[in-house]
Symmetry: none
Subunit: 224 residues, 2 copies
Protein backbone atom coordinates (compact mmCIF):
# COMPACT_ATOMS: atom_id res chain seq x y z
CA UNK A 1 0.00 0.00 0.00
CA UNK A 2 2.34 2.66 -1.20
CA UNK A 3 -0.19 5.37 -1.89
CA UNK A 4 -3.37 6.72 -0.37
CA UNK A 5 -5.43 4.97 -3.04
CA UNK A 6 -7.60 1.95 -2.50
CA UNK A 7 -5.56 -1.12 -1.71
CA UNK A 8 -5.02 -3.43 -4.67
CA UNK A 9 -6.64 -6.84 -4.41
CA UNK A 10 -6.11 -9.96 -6.49
CA UNK A 11 -9.23 -12.13 -6.52
CA UNK A 12 -8.83 -15.68 -7.81
CA UNK A 13 -12.29 -17.20 -8.27
CA UNK A 14 -13.47 -19.51 -11.04
CA UNK A 15 -17.22 -19.26 -10.45
CA UNK A 16 -18.49 -17.13 -13.31
CA UNK A 17 -21.25 -15.65 -11.19
CA UNK A 18 -19.46 -15.30 -7.85
CA UNK A 19 -16.26 -13.72 -9.16
CA UNK A 20 -17.82 -10.58 -10.60
CA UNK A 21 -20.20 -10.40 -7.64
CA UNK A 22 -17.45 -10.39 -5.03
CA UNK A 23 -15.45 -8.06 -7.18
CA UNK A 24 -18.34 -5.61 -7.26
CA UNK A 25 -18.96 -5.89 -3.53
CA UNK A 26 -15.36 -5.04 -2.72
CA UNK A 27 -14.79 -2.35 -5.32
CA UNK A 28 -15.80 0.48 -3.00
CA UNK A 29 -12.91 -0.40 -0.70
CA UNK A 30 -10.45 -2.15 -2.98
CA UNK A 31 -9.14 -2.02 -6.50
CA UNK A 32 -9.98 -5.57 -7.56
CA UNK A 33 -8.39 -7.64 -10.30
CA UNK A 34 -10.10 -10.93 -11.10
CA UNK A 35 -8.28 -14.09 -12.19
CA UNK A 36 -10.44 -17.07 -13.12
CA UNK A 37 -7.98 -19.91 -12.56
CA UNK A 38 -4.92 -20.80 -10.54
CA UNK A 39 -2.44 -20.43 -13.34
CA UNK A 40 -3.46 -16.86 -14.11
CA UNK A 41 -3.57 -16.16 -10.39
CA UNK A 42 -0.05 -17.42 -9.95
CA UNK A 43 1.23 -15.35 -12.82
CA UNK A 44 -0.44 -12.18 -11.59
CA UNK A 45 0.61 -12.90 -8.03
CA UNK A 46 4.24 -13.29 -8.97
CA UNK A 47 4.58 -10.49 -11.46
CA UNK A 48 2.68 -7.73 -9.73
CA UNK A 49 2.56 -6.35 -6.27
CA UNK A 50 -0.73 -6.65 -4.37
CA UNK A 51 -1.92 -5.43 -1.02
CA UNK A 52 -3.93 -8.60 -0.46
CA UNK A 53 -5.30 -11.66 -2.26
CA UNK A 54 -8.58 -13.54 -1.99
CA UNK A 55 -8.25 -17.07 -3.28
CA UNK A 56 -10.95 -19.64 -3.87
CA UNK A 57 -10.17 -23.04 -2.40
CA UNK A 58 -11.35 -25.10 -5.36
CA UNK A 59 -9.90 -23.84 -8.60
CA UNK A 60 -9.48 -25.38 -12.03
CA UNK A 61 -5.98 -25.87 -13.47
CA UNK A 62 -4.32 -25.22 -10.13
CA UNK A 63 -5.88 -25.81 -6.75
CA UNK A 64 -6.15 -22.89 -4.32
CA UNK A 65 -3.94 -24.52 -1.73
CA UNK A 66 -1.31 -25.35 -4.32
CA UNK A 67 -1.46 -21.76 -5.54
CA UNK A 68 -0.86 -20.41 -2.05
CA UNK A 69 2.04 -22.75 -1.46
CA UNK A 70 3.55 -21.80 -4.80
CA UNK A 71 3.29 -18.10 -3.98
CA UNK A 72 4.73 -18.51 -0.50
CA UNK A 73 7.59 -20.63 -1.79
CA UNK A 74 8.52 -17.78 -4.10
CA UNK A 75 8.76 -15.45 -1.14
CA UNK A 76 5.45 -13.66 -1.72
CA UNK A 77 4.35 -12.48 1.73
CA UNK A 78 1.16 -10.73 0.66
CA UNK A 79 -1.80 -11.33 3.02
CA UNK A 80 -4.06 -14.06 1.63
CA UNK A 81 -7.65 -14.87 2.56
CA UNK A 82 -9.08 -18.21 1.45
CA UNK A 83 -12.71 -18.28 0.45
CA UNK A 84 -14.32 -21.68 0.20
CA UNK A 85 -17.37 -23.88 0.42
CA UNK A 86 -15.55 -26.21 2.80
CA UNK A 87 -16.28 -25.15 6.35
CA UNK A 88 -14.93 -28.10 8.31
CA UNK A 89 -12.35 -27.28 10.94
CA UNK A 90 -9.63 -29.48 9.50
CA UNK A 91 -10.11 -27.80 6.13
CA UNK A 92 -9.61 -24.43 7.78
CA UNK A 93 -6.51 -25.69 9.53
CA UNK A 94 -5.12 -27.02 6.26
CA UNK A 95 -5.78 -23.74 4.51
CA UNK A 96 -4.21 -21.62 7.21
CA UNK A 97 -1.21 -23.89 7.54
CA UNK A 98 -0.70 -23.82 3.79
CA UNK A 99 0.17 -20.16 4.18
CA UNK A 100 -3.15 -18.30 4.20
CA UNK A 101 -3.68 -15.53 6.71
CA UNK A 102 -7.45 -15.84 7.03
CA UNK A 103 -10.22 -18.21 6.09
CA UNK A 104 -13.89 -17.65 5.34
CA UNK A 105 -16.42 -20.26 4.29
CA UNK A 106 -19.35 -19.70 1.99
CA UNK A 107 -21.94 -18.43 2.39
CA UNK A 108 -20.10 -15.40 3.61
CA UNK A 109 -21.13 -11.93 4.61
CA UNK A 110 -19.79 -9.21 2.36
CA UNK A 111 -19.37 -6.77 5.23
CA UNK A 112 -17.31 -9.26 7.18
CA UNK A 113 -15.17 -10.08 4.15
CA UNK A 114 -14.45 -6.41 3.64
CA UNK A 115 -13.66 -5.92 7.32
CA UNK A 116 -11.30 -8.88 7.34
CA UNK A 117 -9.55 -7.54 4.27
CA UNK A 118 -9.24 -4.13 5.86
CA UNK A 119 -7.65 -5.84 8.87
CA UNK A 120 -5.25 -7.72 6.60
CA UNK A 121 -4.17 -4.66 4.66
CA UNK A 122 -3.98 -2.34 7.62
CA UNK A 123 -0.53 -1.07 8.35
CA UNK A 124 0.62 -0.05 11.78
CA UNK A 125 3.10 2.54 12.91
CA UNK A 126 2.28 5.06 10.22
CA UNK A 127 4.23 8.02 11.65
CA UNK A 128 7.76 6.62 11.79
CA UNK A 129 7.86 5.09 8.32
CA UNK A 130 11.59 5.49 8.12
CA UNK A 131 14.20 2.79 7.80
CA UNK A 132 17.63 3.08 9.28
CA UNK A 133 20.52 2.16 7.00
CA UNK A 134 23.92 2.75 8.46
CA UNK A 135 24.29 6.46 9.15
CA UNK A 136 21.28 7.15 6.99
CA UNK A 137 17.56 7.05 7.36
CA UNK A 138 15.23 6.31 4.49
CA UNK A 139 11.93 8.15 4.39
CA UNK A 140 10.13 6.05 1.82
CA UNK A 141 7.12 8.33 1.78
CA UNK A 142 9.13 11.39 0.87
CA UNK A 143 11.59 9.30 -1.14
CA UNK A 144 14.54 10.91 0.55
CA UNK A 145 17.45 9.96 2.73
CA UNK A 146 18.67 11.98 5.68
CA UNK A 147 22.06 11.40 7.20
CA UNK A 148 22.60 11.62 10.92
CA UNK A 149 24.50 14.84 10.28
CA UNK A 150 21.56 16.51 8.64
CA UNK A 151 22.23 16.38 4.94
CA UNK A 152 19.34 15.26 2.79
CA UNK A 153 19.38 13.46 -0.53
CA UNK A 154 16.31 12.95 -2.67
CA UNK A 155 15.84 9.71 -4.52
CA UNK A 156 13.88 8.75 -7.59
CA UNK A 157 11.06 6.25 -7.35
CA UNK A 158 13.18 3.34 -8.53
CA UNK A 159 16.09 4.26 -6.34
CA UNK A 160 13.89 4.51 -3.27
CA UNK A 161 12.09 1.28 -4.12
CA UNK A 162 15.33 -0.59 -4.57
CA UNK A 163 16.74 0.72 -1.34
CA UNK A 164 13.56 0.03 0.56
CA UNK A 165 13.43 -3.53 -0.68
CA UNK A 166 17.03 -4.20 0.23
CA UNK A 167 16.61 -2.58 3.63
CA UNK A 168 13.40 -4.47 4.37
CA UNK A 169 15.43 -7.57 5.05
CA UNK A 170 18.90 -6.65 6.22
CA UNK A 171 21.54 -9.32 5.68
CA UNK A 172 19.43 -11.09 3.07
CA UNK A 173 21.12 -11.36 -0.30
CA UNK A 174 18.76 -10.36 -3.07
CA UNK A 175 19.49 -11.69 -6.54
CA UNK A 176 18.97 -9.38 -9.48
CA UNK A 177 16.02 -11.57 -10.33
CA UNK A 178 14.49 -11.03 -6.90
CA UNK A 179 14.80 -7.30 -7.28
CA UNK A 180 13.47 -7.19 -10.82
CA UNK A 181 10.44 -9.18 -9.79
CA UNK A 182 9.85 -6.85 -6.89
CA UNK A 183 10.41 -3.56 -8.64
CA UNK A 184 10.50 -3.85 -12.41
CA UNK A 185 8.87 -5.76 -15.21
CA UNK A 186 10.08 -9.36 -15.25
CA UNK A 187 11.11 -8.85 -18.85
CA UNK A 188 13.65 -6.21 -17.97
CA UNK A 189 17.24 -7.20 -18.12
CA UNK A 190 19.14 -7.72 -14.88
CA UNK A 191 21.64 -4.99 -15.69
CA UNK A 192 19.09 -2.34 -14.70
CA UNK A 193 19.73 -3.24 -11.10
CA UNK A 194 23.46 -2.62 -11.44
CA UNK A 195 22.79 0.85 -12.74
CA UNK A 196 20.52 1.77 -9.85
CA UNK A 197 22.89 0.33 -7.32
CA UNK A 198 25.51 2.56 -8.83
CA UNK A 199 23.23 5.59 -8.58
CA UNK A 200 22.52 4.88 -4.93
CA UNK A 201 26.16 4.39 -4.09
CA UNK A 202 27.01 7.67 -5.74
CA UNK A 203 24.20 9.55 -4.04
CA UNK A 204 24.61 8.13 -0.56
CA UNK A 205 27.81 6.24 -0.03
CA UNK A 206 29.89 3.56 -1.59
CA UNK A 207 29.27 1.22 1.28
CA UNK A 208 25.50 1.20 1.84
CA UNK A 209 24.96 -1.70 -0.52
CA UNK A 210 27.30 -4.64 -0.48
CA UNK A 211 27.90 -6.78 -3.55
CA UNK A 212 27.93 -10.52 -3.08
CA UNK A 213 29.76 -11.69 -6.13
CA UNK A 214 27.82 -14.17 -8.22
CA UNK A 215 24.68 -13.78 -6.10
CA UNK A 216 23.43 -10.24 -5.86
CA UNK A 217 23.22 -7.36 -3.42
CA UNK A 218 22.75 -6.99 0.30
CA UNK A 219 22.36 -4.41 3.02
CA UNK A 220 23.66 -5.19 6.43
CA UNK A 221 25.95 -4.30 9.24
CA UNK A 222 29.38 -3.44 7.94
CA UNK A 223 31.74 -6.28 8.67
CA UNK A 224 35.40 -7.05 8.29
Amino acid sequence: MTTAERPSLLLVEDDAALGPLISELLEPDFSVRLAVNGRDGLHLGLTQSWDAMVIDRGLPVMDGLALIKALRSKGIATPILILTALGATDEKVRGLDAGANDYMSKPFDAMELAARLRALTRTYAPPPATLGIGDWELDAGARSMRSVYGSVVTLTAKEAGLLETLASEPERVFTREDLINALFHPTDQPGVIDTYVHHLRRKISKTVIRTVHGLGYQIGNPHD
Copy 2:
Protein backbone atom coordinates in the same frame (compact mmCIF):
# COMPACT_ATOMS: atom_id res chain seq x y z
CA MET B 1 9.39 -14.31 17.55
CA THR B 2 13.04 -13.82 18.13
CA THR B 3 14.01 -17.35 19.01
CA ALA B 4 13.20 -20.87 17.96
CA GLU B 5 11.06 -21.29 21.06
CA ARG B 6 7.30 -21.35 21.13
CA PRO B 7 5.79 -17.97 20.27
CA SER B 8 4.73 -15.96 23.29
CA LEU B 9 1.02 -15.34 23.66
CA LEU B 10 -0.87 -12.93 25.89
CA LEU B 11 -4.36 -14.21 26.67
CA VAL B 12 -6.81 -11.73 28.20
CA GLU B 13 -9.87 -13.64 29.39
CA ASP B 14 -11.92 -13.03 32.53
CA ASP B 15 -13.91 -16.27 32.58
CA ALA B 16 -12.36 -18.25 35.41
CA ALA B 17 -13.09 -21.56 33.69
CA LEU B 18 -12.39 -20.61 30.07
CA GLY B 19 -9.11 -18.80 30.66
CA PRO B 20 -7.15 -21.73 32.05
CA LEU B 21 -8.84 -24.05 29.53
CA ILE B 22 -7.78 -22.03 26.49
CA SER B 23 -4.38 -21.57 28.03
CA GLU B 24 -3.98 -25.31 28.38
CA LEU B 25 -5.20 -25.99 24.86
CA LEU B 26 -2.65 -23.62 23.36
CA GLU B 27 0.30 -24.47 25.55
CA PRO B 28 1.64 -27.13 23.21
CA ASP B 29 2.11 -24.49 20.52
CA PHE B 30 2.47 -21.26 22.47
CA SER B 31 3.92 -19.97 25.66
CA VAL B 32 0.76 -18.50 27.20
CA ARG B 33 0.44 -15.76 29.82
CA LEU B 34 -3.05 -15.20 31.20
CA ALA B 35 -4.44 -11.82 32.24
CA VAL B 36 -7.91 -11.77 33.79
CA ASN B 37 -8.95 -8.21 33.08
CA GLY B 38 -8.35 -5.39 30.65
CA ARG B 39 -6.18 -3.31 32.94
CA ASP B 40 -3.71 -6.14 33.54
CA GLY B 41 -3.86 -6.96 29.84
CA LEU B 42 -3.00 -3.40 28.91
CA HIS B 43 -0.10 -3.29 31.33
CA LEU B 44 1.34 -6.58 30.11
CA GLY B 45 0.70 -5.63 26.49
CA LEU B 46 2.56 -2.37 26.84
CA THR B 47 5.47 -3.48 28.96
CA GLN B 48 6.37 -6.76 27.32
CA SER B 49 6.84 -7.96 23.79
CA TRP B 50 4.44 -10.62 22.55
CA ASP B 51 4.19 -12.62 19.37
CA ALA B 52 0.39 -12.48 19.49
CA MET B 53 -2.56 -11.68 21.77
CA VAL B 54 -5.94 -13.30 22.25
CA ILE B 55 -8.41 -10.87 23.79
CA ASP B 56 -11.91 -11.55 25.05
CA ARG B 57 -14.51 -9.09 23.82
CA GLY B 58 -16.31 -8.61 27.11
CA LEU B 59 -13.91 -7.84 29.91
CA PRO B 60 -14.34 -6.30 33.34
CA VAL B 61 -12.57 -3.04 34.20
CA MET B 62 -11.66 -2.35 30.56
CA ASP B 63 -13.63 -3.60 27.60
CA GLY B 64 -11.82 -5.73 24.97
CA LEU B 65 -12.40 -3.22 22.19
CA ALA B 66 -11.14 -0.39 24.37
CA LEU B 67 -8.09 -2.45 25.25
CA ILE B 68 -7.27 -3.05 21.59
CA LYS B 69 -7.68 0.60 20.72
CA ALA B 70 -5.47 1.58 23.63
CA LEU B 71 -2.75 -0.83 22.55
CA ARG B 72 -2.91 0.29 18.93
CA SER B 73 -2.81 3.94 19.86
CA LYS B 74 0.44 3.29 21.70
CA GLY B 75 1.95 1.86 18.53
CA ILE B 76 1.67 -1.81 19.51
CA ALA B 77 1.40 -3.69 16.22
CA THR B 78 1.25 -7.20 17.68
CA PRO B 79 -1.29 -9.47 15.95
CA ILE B 80 -4.51 -9.63 17.96
CA LEU B 81 -7.33 -12.17 17.76
CA ILE B 82 -10.65 -11.32 19.41
CA LEU B 83 -12.53 -14.14 21.04
CA THR B 84 -16.14 -13.47 21.85
CA ALA B 85 -19.65 -14.72 22.39
CA LEU B 86 -20.96 -12.12 19.97
CA GLY B 87 -21.16 -13.68 16.53
CA ALA B 88 -23.16 -11.06 14.66
CA THR B 89 -21.52 -9.65 11.56
CA ASP B 90 -21.57 -6.05 12.70
CA GLU B 91 -19.85 -7.08 15.93
CA LYS B 92 -17.13 -8.75 13.91
CA VAL B 93 -16.76 -5.67 11.75
CA ARG B 94 -16.49 -3.48 14.85
CA GLY B 95 -13.87 -5.72 16.36
CA LEU B 96 -11.76 -5.92 13.24
CA ASP B 97 -12.02 -2.21 12.58
CA ALA B 98 -10.99 -1.50 16.16
CA GLY B 99 -7.61 -2.92 15.29
CA ALA B 100 -7.94 -6.68 15.68
CA ASN B 101 -6.41 -8.94 13.05
CA ASP B 102 -8.79 -11.84 13.43
CA TYR B 103 -12.10 -12.65 15.07
CA MET B 104 -13.54 -15.91 16.40
CA SER B 105 -16.87 -16.37 18.10
CA LYS B 106 -17.63 -18.86 20.83
CA PRO B 107 -18.10 -21.72 20.78
CA PHE B 108 -14.83 -22.08 18.98
CA ASP B 109 -12.76 -25.02 17.87
CA ALA B 110 -9.38 -25.28 19.59
CA MET B 111 -7.67 -26.61 16.47
CA GLU B 112 -8.92 -23.68 14.43
CA LEU B 113 -7.87 -21.18 17.08
CA ALA B 114 -4.38 -22.66 17.12
CA ALA B 115 -4.19 -22.62 13.32
CA ARG B 116 -5.32 -19.00 13.17
CA LEU B 117 -2.71 -18.06 15.75
CA ARG B 118 -0.04 -19.89 13.81
CA ALA B 119 -1.08 -17.91 10.74
CA LEU B 120 -0.89 -14.66 12.72
CA THR B 121 2.54 -15.37 14.15
CA ARG B 122 4.03 -16.82 11.01
CA THR B 123 6.95 -14.90 9.61
CA TYR B 124 7.79 -15.01 5.96
CA ALA B 125 11.45 -14.10 6.09
CA PRO B 126 12.77 -16.79 8.35
CA PRO B 127 16.33 -16.27 9.50
CA PRO B 128 18.65 -17.93 7.04
CA ALA B 129 19.57 -21.50 7.75
CA THR B 130 23.01 -21.59 9.24
CA LEU B 131 25.37 -24.44 9.87
CA GLY B 132 27.57 -24.49 12.94
CA ILE B 133 31.21 -25.39 12.45
CA GLY B 134 33.34 -25.04 15.53
CA ASP B 135 33.30 -21.42 16.61
CA TRP B 136 31.90 -20.46 13.23
CA GLU B 137 28.54 -20.41 11.58
CA LEU B 138 28.07 -20.83 7.85
CA ASP B 139 25.32 -18.83 6.16
CA ALA B 140 25.12 -20.65 2.86
CA GLY B 141 22.58 -18.21 1.45
CA ALA B 142 24.82 -15.21 1.91
CA ARG B 143 27.95 -17.30 1.44
CA SER B 144 29.54 -15.95 4.56
CA MET B 145 30.87 -17.19 7.86
CA ARG B 146 30.39 -15.43 11.17
CA SER B 147 32.47 -16.29 14.18
CA VAL B 148 30.96 -16.34 17.63
CA TYR B 149 32.90 -13.16 18.33
CA GLY B 150 31.26 -11.27 15.51
CA SER B 151 33.79 -11.17 12.72
CA VAL B 152 32.47 -12.04 9.32
CA VAL B 153 34.26 -13.57 6.37
CA THR B 154 32.80 -13.80 2.89
CA LEU B 155 33.40 -16.90 0.84
CA THR B 156 33.37 -17.56 -2.87
CA ALA B 157 30.88 -19.99 -4.36
CA LYS B 158 33.35 -22.87 -4.48
CA GLU B 159 34.65 -22.24 -1.01
CA ALA B 160 31.16 -22.12 0.44
CA GLY B 161 30.10 -25.23 -1.47
CA LEU B 162 33.08 -27.17 -0.29
CA LEU B 163 32.59 -26.14 3.30
CA GLU B 164 28.87 -26.85 3.18
CA THR B 165 29.46 -30.32 1.79
CA LEU B 166 32.03 -31.16 4.40
CA ALA B 167 29.86 -29.77 7.19
CA SER B 168 26.76 -31.58 5.99
CA GLU B 169 28.18 -34.80 7.36
CA PRO B 170 30.50 -34.08 10.26
CA GLU B 171 33.06 -36.77 10.99
CA ARG B 172 32.66 -38.29 7.54
CA VAL B 173 35.89 -38.39 5.57
CA PHE B 174 35.34 -37.13 2.04
CA THR B 175 37.80 -38.25 -0.60
CA ARG B 176 38.87 -35.74 -3.22
CA GLU B 177 36.84 -37.77 -5.66
CA ASP B 178 33.72 -37.40 -3.51
CA LEU B 179 34.17 -33.67 -3.39
CA ILE B 180 34.92 -33.27 -7.07
CA ASN B 181 31.84 -35.24 -7.99
CA ALA B 182 29.76 -33.11 -5.66
CA LEU B 183 31.12 -29.71 -6.56
CA PHE B 184 33.18 -29.73 -9.74
CA HIS B 185 33.29 -31.38 -13.12
CA PRO B 186 34.30 -35.00 -12.74
CA THR B 187 37.07 -34.33 -15.22
CA ASP B 188 38.75 -31.80 -12.98
CA GLN B 189 41.92 -32.84 -11.32
CA PRO B 190 41.86 -33.70 -7.63
CA GLY B 191 44.38 -30.99 -6.78
CA VAL B 192 41.62 -28.36 -7.07
CA ILE B 193 40.30 -29.51 -3.73
CA ASP B 194 43.62 -28.96 -2.01
CA THR B 195 43.70 -25.39 -3.22
CA TYR B 196 40.25 -24.62 -1.87
CA VAL B 197 40.95 -26.32 1.43
CA HIS B 198 43.92 -24.05 1.73
CA HIS B 199 41.84 -20.98 0.95
CA LEU B 200 39.33 -21.93 3.61
CA ARG B 201 41.99 -22.57 6.19
CA ARG B 202 43.53 -19.20 5.49
CA LYS B 203 40.21 -17.37 5.62
CA ILE B 204 38.77 -19.06 8.69
CA SER B 205 41.23 -21.07 10.67
CA LYS B 206 43.85 -23.71 10.21
CA THR B 207 41.86 -26.25 12.13
CA VAL B 208 38.35 -26.17 10.64
CA ILE B 209 39.17 -28.86 8.12
CA ARG B 210 41.20 -31.85 9.17
CA THR B 211 43.34 -33.76 6.71
CA VAL B 212 43.12 -37.53 6.82
CA HIS B 213 46.33 -38.54 5.20
CA GLY B 214 45.87 -40.79 2.21
CA LEU B 215 42.08 -40.48 2.30
CA GLY B 216 40.79 -36.96 2.12
CA TYR B 217 39.29 -34.25 4.31
CA GLN B 218 36.91 -34.11 7.24
CA ILE B 219 35.12 -31.75 9.55
CA GLY B 220 34.43 -32.80 13.07
CA ASN B 221 35.04 -32.25 16.72
CA PRO B 222 38.68 -31.67 17.37
CA HIS B 223 40.06 -34.80 18.98
CA ASP B 224 43.63 -35.41 20.15
